[in-house]
Symmetry: D2
Subunit: 271 residues, 4 copies
């Protein structure tokens, strides 16, 4: 990794810690970023935000620009969804993140949310990486579907060498021959990037497995290996979700998950 | 593929044929698109163009916006390279193609070249697909490193449903466990997309294998299975190339390749 | 999985539990099967057995027929190793397992050890599966390097339909494009086979990652998802091991691991 | 490949040529090994043999010990099939090959057929490799589903270092994420093993693609890259085949294929 000076610096540096006021990522705590795959309405987001806060988390996710394989699938609410995300964070004092898919939208998205998200399909969209690297907004960088760990860290370097050091890596499953799960969640990659860099790393068991019944055990496993958090899909009514319903959990399951996370924080020495 | 109406229409339609005046792709001919990985200088492009024309081809490639894994690798000449490409096509009457990596650049790139190229890493950069779909410039759509055939055709649909039907698919190898070759060239994918769609399909044996010694036999194989052409990296001095020298052939090898292509055209009933 | 009646029966049946007198697998306990990659000497095995017993485990591994990629690599002690395994289990009252690679050896191996092991490379060596299916000795069936979950369960069915129902599945990593780790440990496969079958499932983080520094965290993760145990490589002096030294831990690290396992048993409700 | 002395010797040696009297493999000719996936009856084999001979080939395949994923699928005729193969070769003067799955059967199989075949699932069944290495019968060694080229050659070395140098490699597709085809036929592997070794290499487009409509174009491609032959599934009535009917061609298609092979022999300088 000699070719990656920003990553290399970390060998001697302190862990990267990102403080949002209401919550911090990378300081030894375990962040749970929860919310629907897609922002569908103000009601949906407000309902979810209330649950998230009541259960003790402050981080929310919700896509409004959706990268869909098929052009005729629901593509997200677009800018309208940004307004909903902005209202949600103000009303409920949560930290919100959403995916940004194009350079033109970086500035406007950064105005309405707290964390920019780069999706798997854009992990090597280098113009987009550079553009978010020129903002001061924290960035969640998802691993590409078939990206090596080295390529993933090189993508982080693209962002950091432009000035923005607030990068959070997110393992979300890689593409393999196995089709029982949507992807194969590669937990060893979390260990690897923690060995090489000091960037916070979170895990997305929703996309990583594509199966709601695997989210809770994989959340436990993420804590067991020392991840800095998880990102999960929670929906008031998963069966009516406009996308990814089969990998979203409802509020009851989310409550169980948060109780389990709470219980395991002490076990795995999270602060 | 019922979810892809533009692709579906093709079942009954004629083959998509793209006429550039100086040459045509998809009409039963075998196109050889040759040139350096990266545009490095006017001299380099002019020298190559002369050889391309002398050997009977009219198609040239040359990257000027280079998607490089590492941020500190040579990133291409940028807009300066576009001018060189434009001069080259005017001076030598060749059809040129170059990769476009961001939505902001689509218009300016389309002004200076004849074919826009979407690289593997951007195959699911949907904003970029839509943007090139709103131009009338032909597009070479490379298959993503780990994209299924269905996802690849869905990406083509993204372009076509915006109005631009001039899509040329390009198989360039997929990522597998095998590391002897840079990627695994999937020739069966060419057969598959020809069964499902009527879009022209070309093969890139340079990226597909990453080895100059495999380019000629794989070019033969591409003709053997009925591909509409190949895209190969040719450089005046591969050992001095600023990128991908190990998978570029020199003019001598290119001459041999063109002689072999010429010989096999009749064998495989190309026009 | 309708094609697999033995597996299918399990939907309504009790969990498969395998009792060895000195220890049980599949009864809600967490088994740690520890020992060297290869049996090298009586001293090595006795030293390790003592540590295993002192730390509270009763299960030991040690290969004596080694499936090596290269024909000139150390191939194991063969039958001599079997005698050492047998002495070890008698002397230290441990349950031992070793790989059996050929049908001719099944009987003699079954005489000297408590659990037969089918390695990844032989997961679809159907004659071998049938042969061990005709014994009454418990069998650890490792998942093939690129076997789907369905193929893995079908291999278990091959054993069970011959009469031997004492099958323990072992996830040991699958082959992917990622090369930082030797394989990609697929923990979701453990969840999958537990959903479909009632067979005990263990995890091999030594082969699964190929890195000694990942064994402890992956052992934790195995407990977090409810695996029935782990199989790990422990060696008195890993740096002198005749095979797989880089993925073997020494006695100090093994002690730490066993303490951690002990601590987490209550956390994850193991008996 | 320094670890493989038998392979390494080939750098300076002549190409391995295997002469069967009625036909030769590896001498610059293009062998077509045709026949059903499974031997089903004498009539089936005789009918096919007649067609094979009439169309100018002398090589036949037919499985009688079938490695099937599911234990309840048709497992082949076993020893009865061996007798049919033997009768077929005597009656029609053809060279026959069949898979041998276990060490115990090596001798008897070698008595009834001309070429032993090691299937993909057994490529690293080292005891079996050693056993066939101690015979003098030529061996077709299929590449494992997820075996690297280096592992494949190491498996060949296992056979050769026991004394049997008559090894024919067979590329039959590797397992990837793509599911449109049964496997991904890796033609670059053929080029690779020809660069490293002097062993003959053939291609199996039936298993490599799993689609009868891709067999003819892939056979052409195999010739285009210089393979020493192909192995294909031909059945009198593919729709009634007891296994792999969807990847078997009927006599009409086989006739077309043989005419095409004949035509291309001159084109690609086969003798």
């Amino acid at each position: 990794m000699n070719a990656l000076p920003e990553i290399k610096k970390m060998e001697t540096a302190h862990k990267t810690t990102i403080d949002f006021g209401r919550g911090t990522i990378g300081d030894g705590s375990f962040a749970v970023i929860a919310g629907p795959c897609a922002v569908e309405s103000r009601e949906q987001m407000f309902m979810t935000a209330k649950v998230v806060r009541d259960l003790g988390s402050v981080f929310m996710r919700g896509g409004t620009f959706k990268p869909r394989t098929m052009p005729y699938s629901f593509q997200g609410l677009g800018v309208d969804g940004l307004y909903i995300l902005d209202e949600t964070r103000k009303q409920y004092d949560v930290v919100v993140t959403t995916e940004v898919m194009s350079t033109e939208m970086v500035e406007v998205v950064a105005k309405h949310v707290d964390i920019l998200q780069i999706g798997s399909r854009n992990m090597q969209n280098f113009d987009l990486l550079k553009k978010v690297g020129r903002t001061s907004t924290p960035v969640i960088l998802k691993r590409g579907l078939s990206s090596t760990i080295e390529e993933w860290l090189a993508a982080a370097e693209y962002i950091m060498c432009e000035g923005n050091k607030k990068v959070i890596l997110c393992e979300r499953g890689i593409r393999t021959f196995e089709k029982y799960t949507r992807n194969t969640l590669d937990l060893s990659a979390v260990l690897a990037v923690k060995q090489i860099s000091h960037l916070p790393v979170i895990v997305d068991p929703s996309h990583g497995t594509g199966r709601k019944d695997m989210i809770l055990p994989m959340a436990r496993a993420a804590m067991a290996i020392g991840a800095d958090g998880i990102m999960i899909e929670v929906h008031p009514r998963p069966e009516e979700a406009l996308s990814d319903g089969e990998q979203s959990i409802n509020f009851d399951h989310f409550t169980q998950l948060m109780q389990e996370v709470e219980r395991l924080k002490k076990v795995f020495h999270y602060c």
